[in-house]
């Protein structure tokens, strides 16, 4: 029984990282109504960014999150002007396909450079031992980092002028324009922040598990599940839903093979979409 409890705690710690990844997806989706299919590729880029930075410096991996955030912001701006700006407001098909095209390009370049063999970031923090179980320091540090970044984002969105402008554009783009907010600037900033969150969560994952350039796809699916659970445009809800998903994984992993997990997550995804179109934390509006 205590084995399950330990697995649950571990699940919650990892779940915070899922939540952070989903916040990036949820922010972009909520603000500009674009489903960012580069999400998985950006998570993978974050992993490799962390890998390269750590290989070059060998300092504490969690300090390296700061340059990773910067890297994510820059990539985000580039991708916004390359593929997203031109399709905002056009049909959903177009934005799905254009972000998807960028995804293919990033994965293609990544495969050419790093092939699809596994890498890992060889950085270990001392863990905490409770009874017969040890919680690795990396899991704890990753969860704390995720929560700190999530709180920082919450502060940014609700307490700063730029953050308020982002929320205004998300609410009503035309009205925000009339109030003198440059929606183009706001959209590009929001997109960049979303990508930076994806990269950062990828970097956190890279300190926990081995990864390949294709690993992003797994976390992309988890991010979708979490975003749907939380309801759109609720970044902080995404963190909570991420923890819930992690908890669920923690509860079931002691009992079934890991390879079944995508099936279960997908089932959850469809059930939630059909039963709660506004998300579990969302207002029940008429669908």
């Amino acid at each position: 029984m205590s084995g399950v409890l330990a697995s649950m705690i571990d699940g919650v710690l990892v779940g915070a990282v899922y939540g952070l990844a989903a916040m990036g997806l949820s922010l972009i989706w909520g603000v500009m109504d674009v489903i960012n299919l580069t999400h998985g590729a950006m998570i993978a880029l974050g992993m490799f960014c962390m890998y390269l930075l750590f290989a070059a410096t060998h300092i504490n991996a969690y300090v390296l999150l700061l340059p990773t955030i910067g890297f994510g912001l820059v990539i985000g701006i580039v991708v916004y002007w390359m593929a997203v700006h031109w399709v905002v407001g056009r049909s959903m098909l177009m934005s799905l396909l254009s972000t998807f095209a960028v995804n293919m390009m990033v994965i293609g370049i990544g495969t050419a450079i790093w092939s699809t063999s596994p890498y890992n970031v060889n950085f270990v923090l001392p863990g905490i031992t409770l009874g017969a179980y040890t919680f690795t320091g990396n899991h704890i540090a990753a969860a704390i980092s995720a929560v700190v970044i999530a709180l920082a984002l919450q502060f940014f969105l609700y307490r700063t002028r730029t953050g308020k402008a982002i929320r205004a554009v998300a609410d009503n783009r035309d009205a925000a324009e009339l109030m003198g907010i440059s929606s183009t600037a706001v959209l590009s900033i929001a997109f960049a922040i979303g990508i930076a969150l994806a990269c950062t969560s990828g970097a956190l994952v890279s300190t926990l598990f081995p990864f390949t350039i294709l690993s992003g796809a797994v976390y992309q699916l988890k991010s979708f599940v979490v975003t749907i659970l939380a309801g759109l445009g609720k970044p902080f809800g995404a963190l909570v839903a991420g923890v819930l998903l992690g908890l669920l994984e923690g509860v079931i992993t002691p009992f079934i093979a890991v390879s079944w997990i995508p099936l279960i997550e997908f089932g959850l995804f469809v059930v939630v979409l059909v039963a709660f179109p506004q998300g579990i934390f969302g207002k029940r509006a008429t669908a």
Partner: protein
């Protein structure tokens, strides 16, 4: 009547060309090239039914092809059934699965549906990788016995080729028929504005579930034939995510919503891909080039090649549907 459409006869001519060219010269490598093109056309044409006609993006279209391959190989190898019958049964079984999936996920609109299709692909792959009768992650191999009823391996490969060409022609004919039917008009209405279509009496739920399962049938048959020809199957080649994505590139490149567009895009992209894969410099970057191509089409020519041709020669629309 479909027989009065000039494009119908063009399809038959192309299919005849596909059969005549390698047979006349007895050229096996040409046959192998054409088979890949035929598969590309089958995938792109049937994907067109969803994306081009109905306006629903299916990212996991390859799931039908892979499942068809599994059911087909299981029936021919383990049960010892005849190839044509196994392929047809594979098509029916997969279509039925698609209908059930469809009833569940087609309640989702637009983007949510697209996300669910990614999930279906991963879920089915996870299921097959854990499914004992189908050999889990190692897959299945064809026993050599299975070739005997078709007159040995050499003969069997040619027969499989003819069948695949037939499925290719059928894919285009099905697309053409649907395009010119009341059912097709209902789908176009859903694509343009689903709510308005429902108000005007289109039963969108049933229409979508039907077209989803129709778009599963021929790819599943093609999968059964193709994996019979290859002689083996495992989850990573059956459900190759990249092929699913490349199907979308083919369709957008040729021109979504048009029968000839889908076929042209499939054929051209397949040529391009085999050129890139064999070129020593570019082979690592074929995905990058495909992605760049897709981005360019989406941003600058949403109608694809055929949209550009229609603008140049508006009359072409009458013949090249």
């Amino acid at each position: 009547m479909i027989l009065r459409r000039p494009f119908f006869w063009i399809i038959l001519l192309v299919a005849a060309g596909f059969i005549y060219a390698p047979l006349h010269s007895n050229n096996v490598s040409l046959r192998e090239d054409l088979i890949l093109i035929a598969i590309a056309i089958i995938l792109a044409s049937n994907l067109n039914l969803m994306i081009g006609y109905t306006g629903y993006v299916n990212f996991g279209h390859i799931v039908f092809y892979g499942l068809g391959g599994y059911v087909g190989l299981y029936l021919t190898t383990v049960r010892g059934w005849n190839l044509v019958l196994s392929a047809l049964v594979a098509g029916v079984v997969v279509s039925f699965c698609a209908f059930l999936f469809g009833l569940a996920i087609l309640r989702l609109r637009g983007a949510y549906f697209a996300l669910a299709t990614i999930g279906i692909l991963q879920a089915v792959q996870a299921f097959v990788s854990n499914f004992d009768p189908w050999g889990r992650s190692t897959g299945m191999y064809l026993s050599f016995e299975s070739y005997r009823p078709l007159g040995g391996a050499r003969h069997a490969l040619w027969i499989t080729y003819y069948l695949i060409v037939a499925v290719m022609a059928l894919s285009m004919i099905v697309s053409l028929t649907i395009k010119n039917s009341k059912f097709g008009l209902g789908l176009f209405a859903i694509r343009e504005d689903e709510d308005a279509a429902v108000v005007l009496g289109v039963n969108a739920t049933i229409y979508k579930a039907i077209i989803y399962s129709v778009s599963a049938f021929l790819p599943a048959v093609a999968g059964a034939l193709m994996f019979f020809k290859n002689g083996m199957i495992d989850p990573s080649i059956a459900f190759e995510y990249m092929l699913s994505l490349e199907g979308i590139v083919m369709l957008m490149l040729g021109g979504q919503g048009s029968v000839i567009g889908a076929a042209l895009g499939g054929a051209l992209y397949e040529k391009l891909r085999s050129y890139l894969l064999t070129s020593p410099v570019l082979s690592n970057f074929h995905l990058v080039i495909a992605g760049a191509l897709l981005l360019l089409v989406v941003l600058f020519a949403p109608g694809g090649l055929i949209g550009w041709l229609y603008r140049l020669m508006p009359r072409a629309r009458k013949v090249l549907e």
